[in-house]
């Protein structure tokens, strides 16, 4: 349900904290004495405890209001077609100057599995610092302009900028188990929150929302996937979905489940526990907009239980105006898998068990030089599908590597429109499922035919907790493609050849511009740690490369470093 925050008590509380942050940030020299005075006031003390980690924001900016004129992305995919391509007029980072790309500053995140994607304006970087809230950081120094605390643990999506009909600039993002939020971009004040709890008992917001005009499109997954580890759980009754909200009010416009048949009782185990199906087909990748056709494309995951549906592991096309399904292309049929399958003999592991070949990576809509449009979809099986966006019919399909539970293609691909290449990151992390030859790394396919232009295998260097391969999203520019691997290495490859042009190892401790007092090094300074790259990946904006290092899920290397690199000027100051 929608909760306007403008007249709510909680928003007042948030406003107080925001005000406090701004007051404290007026002048560094004044900050200490003011803070001492203010902490004597109990409500501020309570605010600090409740919203936590204020002391972690060591550097507060003198100017708290961010610039909002020029954003370098519209959401997860840089553009609403999810191309993950930053054009030369949006990034100056190139093969000519990549050797001058240097670390500018590092921000210590509160948690070691960051899952947000930076939004960059002319002077500010917005990022979901789970545990603290949405933060607005000064591009130049990393100081904090404002912090917008949110209920719930994890900001799990990219951040989309939008302008409301009344002229207010807002930021839209999802919090994993707690809904979609709209906050005022100038100061982080909450405007509305929507939770699809009227349609779904346990929705999960893992995929990034997409904003188009006055519409906010919201991918919906389900907590049921996690609940299946409990053998007493009556698996499963929920369906993935795509929802649409009104940007102005946060009110629901439409809601389209990916499984239209209601779940029926299918059996029983351990005497008492009833089983249900069909279920699953969650949506955990960002949707893709086709303005010309008025369509929204998105992918689904596997079913959680039997019987399976014809809509799991599929690409959907729905009408943006009412959510009506135009076409569905199912790539893998009869794929039922649950978290219960992680435990031998678990009663909630479907029988027969499927390969868990979701579409987690958002589809990409791209135009070829001859005017043809194709929809590219990468699957955890390692398959790349080129589809006709009009009908969903295959133009070509190609499988790379082995695929599996953690990819194949996991979080996202990119395209290069001029070279007509699709860049396919392959994880191929060993999960013991398939016997095919693995191909962890980056692969460049020709858009028109799917032919491989080049492949670059990225193997693990064998460090503890490392597994090689590329699970996270990637980003391309005119002559470089950037990605981080599961070993914690950040790479820039030549788009034409796949040769390494730049690399940075993030398995290290970094000095930071903020810091949690609990995380101090031997000399008393604050630090952040790098780790595996996963989830949303790197962002290019202007002369900056921004990326969060660390992802502690699935036994990978956790880390809490938000790294900001910049091309060092070649002219002396």
């Amino acid at each position: 349900m929608s909760e306007p925050a403008s007249d709510g008590g909680s928003s007042e509380g948030l406003h107080q904290v925001n005000t406090f942050i701004r007051v404290a940030g007026t002048r560094p020299s004044e900050m200490r004495s003011r803070t001492v005075r203010l902490t004597k006031r109990w409500w501020y003390s309570v605010g600090l405890i409740v919203f936590g980690g204020f002391s972690a924001h060591g550097g507060l900016c003198e100017t708290t209001e961010p610039g909002l004129k020029d954003f370098y992305s519209s959401g997860w995919g840089i553009d609403s077609a999810n191309r993950r391509y930053q054009s030369p007029n949006r990034t100056s980072v190139s093969a000519e100057n990549i050797d001058r790309l240097e670390l500018k500053w590092v921000y210590q995140l509160a948690q070691k599995t960051p899952r947000s994607y930076p939004l960059v304006s002319e002077d500010t970087i917005f990022f979901g610092d789970s545990g603290r809230g949405l933060v607005a950081l000064d591009r130049e120094t990393g100081c904090t302009r404002w912090t917008s605390p949110v209920e719930g643990v994890e900001i799990s999506t990219a951040i989309s900028p939008a302008r409301m009909p009344d002229g207010r600039d807002v930021l839209i993002f999802g919090v994993r188990q707690n809904g979609v939020f709209a906050v005022d971009a100038t100061d982080g004040t909450h405007i509305w929150r929507y939770h699809f709890d009227e349609d779904h008992p346990v929705p999960m917001y893992s995929g990034s929302p997409l904003v188009d005009g006055n519409n906010v499109f919201v991918p919906i997954s389900s907590m049921e996937m996690g609940l299946t580890i409990f053998p007493w759980y009556g698996c499963c009754t929920t369906s993935g979905a795509m929802g649409a909200l009104d940007l102005s009010t946060g009110a629901k416009k439409w809601y389209t489940p990916t499984i239209s048949d209601p779940p029926k009782k299918t059996g029983r185990h351990w005497l008492f526990v009833e089983r249900y199906g069909p279920s699953g087909a969650p949506v955990w990748g960002a949707p893709t907009l086709d303005s010309k056709r008025g369509l929204l494309f998105f992918g689904t995951g596997q079913n959680y239980s039997h019987p399976t549906s014809a809509t799991s592991d599929a690409i959907f096309a729905v009408d943006t105006s009412d959510g009506m399904v135009r076409w569905v292309m199912q790539a893998t049929a009869n794929d039922a898998y649950s978290m219960g399958c992680s435990f031998p003999g678990h009663p909630l592991c479907p029988d027969p068990v499927g390969p868990d070949h979701d579409f987690g990576a958002p589809p990409i809509l791209a135009t070829l030089r001859d005017g043809r449009e194709l929809l590219f979809a990468g699957q955890k099986s390692g398959d790349v599908h080129a589809l006709d966006p009009e009908t969903g019919a295959h133009v070509w399909r190609k499988r790379i590597g082995r695929g599996g539970l953690l990819g194949g293609v996991h979080f996202g691909m990119a395209v290069h429109p001029e070279l007509e290449l699709v860049f396919v990151p392959i994880s191929d992390r060993e999960t013991g499922q398939e016997k095919r030859q693995s191909a962890p790394g980056l692969h460049a396919l020709e858009m028109a035919s799917g032919e491989t232009r080049w492949s670059r295998i990225i193997k693990s260097r064998g460090c503890a907790g490392c597994s090689g391969g590329i699970s996270s999203g990637i980003v391309a520019s005119r002559d470089l493609v950037f990605f981080g691997d599961l070993d914690g290495r950040l790479w820039a490859l030549d788009v034409s050849t796949g040769e390494t042009r730049w690399q940075h190892d993030t398995l290290q401790k970094y000095d930071v511009v903020n810091g949690d007092p609990a995380q101090k090094d031997d000399e008393g300074g604050s630090y952040a740690e790098g780790g595996a790259f996963d989830a949303h990946g790197p962002m290019l904006a202007d002369d900056l490369l921004i990326v969060a290092s660390g992802y502690g899920n699935f036994g990978q290397l956790g880390g809490n470093a938000l790294l900001v690199f910049q091309i060092k000027s070649d002219t002396p100051p």
Binding site: Q177, D197, P201, V202, S222, M223, E224, L227, F230, W232, Y233, G234, C236, T237, T238, W270, L271, F272, V273, E274
Partner: protein, 146 residues
């Protein structure tokens, strides 16, 4: 050592019976039961109370013993009189307190420190844990007729 073994046995048995209570009641069987995660965890913890009763009710009523203590030939007595402690005291004071602490501790984990403090009391000379002090009981070796 015998008390520790008895406690370990009690917790293991209670965990199994709690699982059976959860299964039989269906209190955590549906997606709707997880709309508030903390509430669902509290529900799971509260299922431990009937499990405790099912497992230990008769033994406590008749012999002042839990299953674990019976296996280790231990029994709970009134600290002042040395007689078998009253059933009400055993159930509502001695047993309920740890369950409430754990249930509330799901929302405020710092309360779990109380469980540790409770345990540490066993190293006192009289081996009375915190819940023994609150309930006015102590644990003694059961002397059989033989």
């Amino acid at each position: 050592m015998q008390r520790l073994a008895a406690t370990g046995l009690d917790w293991s048995l209670i965990t199994v019976v709690t699982l059976l209570v959860i299964l039989a009641t269906g209190v955590l069987e549906h997606a709707e039961d997880y709309t508030n995660i903390q509430q669902s965890m509290v529900n799971a913890a509260l299922c431990g109370m009937p499990a405790y009763l099912i497992l230990n009710g008769w033994l406590l009523w008749t012999r002042g013993q839990t299953a674990g203590k019976a296996a280790m030939s231990l029994m709970i007595v009134d600290h002042q009189t040395g007689n078998r402690a009253s059933f009400g005291k055993l159930l509502f004071v001695r047993a309920l307190i740890p369950v409430v602490v754990i249930a509330v501790g799901l929302g405020f984990p710092i309360l779990w420190l109380l469980v540790l403090v409770d345990f540490v009391f066993i190293f006192r000379k009289d081996q009375r844990c915190l819940h023994d002090w609150v309930a006015g009981t102590r644990v003694v070796k059961r002397v059989t007729d033989q």
